[in-house]
Symmetry: C2
Subunit: 336 residues, 2 copies
DNA sequence: AAATAATTTGAAATCGATTTCAGGATAAAT
DNA sequence: ATTTATCCTGAAATCGATTTCAAATTATTT
């Protein structure tokens, strides 16, 4: 462990520079000296110090990823996409869990950007667009998944929230629903806003009057969805369908319905977003929107690495991908 | 971004050493010079280069965690435990996903150990005990969760597989089952072995003859559980309960039963292990064994950091924690 | 065989911080 | 006022690799 490159050099009877050369194949060395060096490395059990190497070469061949919550399967798939492409391109990936805390997100980003990694990918970041742009301006390499960013050096990939939201409402309306609850995530999230926008646009298309009392906030989590539904039930409002801005909240809807003896989908149709693993296993199976998570991660990191290698900024920097509605048991019911 | 400590020093009219001192509060500086330095840092937007810092100070205040699969919720909880305790102790945590590939696990471990982190935690490692010990012998600081390791410098935490396996079988026998299928994980895994051991011991306690044909392998995943059950059904064996060595395989059992029209729990009782999130949502709810995942992560990292700080090895290095059986719908049925 | 070109190699500089050691300034004690 | 102790500060060494530049070696050409 305390063996350094000079030790190897001494043992092999060469200079540290030569050892470095065989280590990195950076320039040619005689097969004879190479053999000597290899032998010394082997015998001493030498492992190069990555920190020293990174300091001198000013790169780490590592990409950092910051996720809001490592527990959410939604992010896991994106990470898989990132990891696989990065790995194929000789980059390693390290992941940091911000645990839904803005402060932690910032701290981990600082940790990563202080030259520990060559670039950082922010997944569904908690921080604002301005903060992200500021960091990029300082010269750090960033990329964002799950949000559109207006900055010509930050590649980003995101889904068309408005589009799929409209499709969800369309699907519900075509199954006879007109009074559709919208369970939004937390208000600051751009996703919440856009999904709501799609909901409103679809209503307008069908000339269905908008009832603001049918909008409730569920903070993107199960408990939030449950509480929101309880509030709605208590108000005795009339509605026949719920569009939850993610599957987690939809689970809360299921729970609230179970408590009140309301049958899904005959009495209440439910649609979520994310295609969580659970959505396929719960009874009834949950209709949801599937986003191409793996592809999003893969595509973005591909772009990012290209940009780093070419050291120039391409025309095509932002990617909007489509999601698809998956109709399952919770909404597959025609209301007369 | 290109601002270095010398630039700050120049601007503040002090030496780099002084800048370093105010940065790290390593020794006292006059409030006047401190103010000058702070001002210069602020105005230049200086961020210290972590790589240089780590190289000189020979530490990173960072702990690396390698997981076999970032998608498995089982590991996410452990990571949460690690992260929270580490964070409270001023350590950052970075996570690497080995994607169930031994080769990737080794590569990431190399990446981490080449001084990028102060210590690495291996969660349910794929590599052998010998390999782990060898790495420790080289002077790297390691810890392991999910496996007992015979090495006096490697803290580890693991559950008593034999004990809870016995409890599961006991529960089934007391509900009238005598022909209990055991679905094991992959054969090399020590967990598989120990869970089987508990199963066998319990049978012996109840004087139930062991039927080797009731042991099937399911590779710890859903597809494996499904295939294994199909094989068992096709053989036309008599059994009334299945003990799956994890919940994933139990999901496969559910699927196979649904296809054959076999009712759970009346025709077949099922028990899993892990207390996956899905186990609570599936119908019928799945009986399972809950392991104190969060605590395992938290306890281990606490121990690890203590050990690093004290720079000595404590007497109590290994922790065996207990798991609890959670009886739910899939086995809560008394057979006459 | 001598001159030239191409290839290997090593010495020393470098990456950007921390830390040691000694000197200078200030405060306390005589 | 002088001596002694304490506190601040800076110059230079250091962490462990890579990289540049020049020297030394080998290969090629005349």
């Amino acid at each position: 462990m305390d063996i350094k490159i000079v030790d190897v050099a001494a043992k092999a009877g060469v200079s540290p520079a030569t050892v470095s050369r065989v280590l990195n194949e950076s320039s040619s060395v005689t097969s004879k000296t190479k053999a000597k060096v290899m032998k010394a490395i082997e015998e001493l059990g030498y492992h190069p110090n990555a920190v020293a190497k990174n300091l001198r070469s000013q790169k780490s061949m590592t990409i950092g990823v910051i996720v809001p919550d490592i527990n959410a399967s939604y992010f896991a798939e994106i990470i898989k996409g990132i990891e696989n492409v990065a790995y194929a391109r000789k980059y390693k990936v390290i992941i940091c869990d911000a645990e839904n805390q803005k402060e932690k997100e910032a701290e981990y980003l600082t940790l990563l950007m202080n030259r520990t990694v060559d670039a950082a990918i922010l997944i569904a970041p908690l921080m604002s667009d301005e903060e992200i742009c500021q960091i990029s301006e300082k010269g750090y390499t960033l990329a964002v998944v799950g949000r559109y960013i207006e900055h010509d050096r930050i590649p980003c990939i995101y889904t068309d929230n408005v589009k799929f939201s409209k499709e969800v409402v369309q699907h519900l309306v075509e199954n006879g629903h007109r009074d559709i609850v919208f369970l939004s995530g937390y208000a600051e999230a751009i996703d919440s806003y856009e999904r709501l926008e799609g909901y409103l646009k679809a209503l307008r298309d069908y000339h269905i009057p908008f009832r603001p009392e049918l909008i409730e906030n569920g903070n993107f989590n199960e408990g939030g969805g449950y509480e929101a539904m309880k509030r709605l039930f208590d108000k005795n409002l009339h509605f026949t369908a719920v569009f939850a801005a993610n599957d987690e909240m939809a689970l809360g809807v299921y729970k609230a319905c179970a408590e009140r003896g309301i049958a899904i989908p005959s009495q209440l149709a439910v649609v979520g977003v994310d295609n969580n693993r659970i959505s396929k296993y719960i009874t009834p199976t949950l209709s949801t929107v599937n986003q191409p998570k793996y592809t999003m991660g893969a595509l973005l990191v591909e772009k990012l690495i290209d940009q780093m290698n070419e050291n120039q900024f391409h025309d095509k920097r932002t990617f909007k991908v489509d999601s698809e509605l998956i109709v399952r048991g919770s909404s597959n019911f025609r209301r007369e």
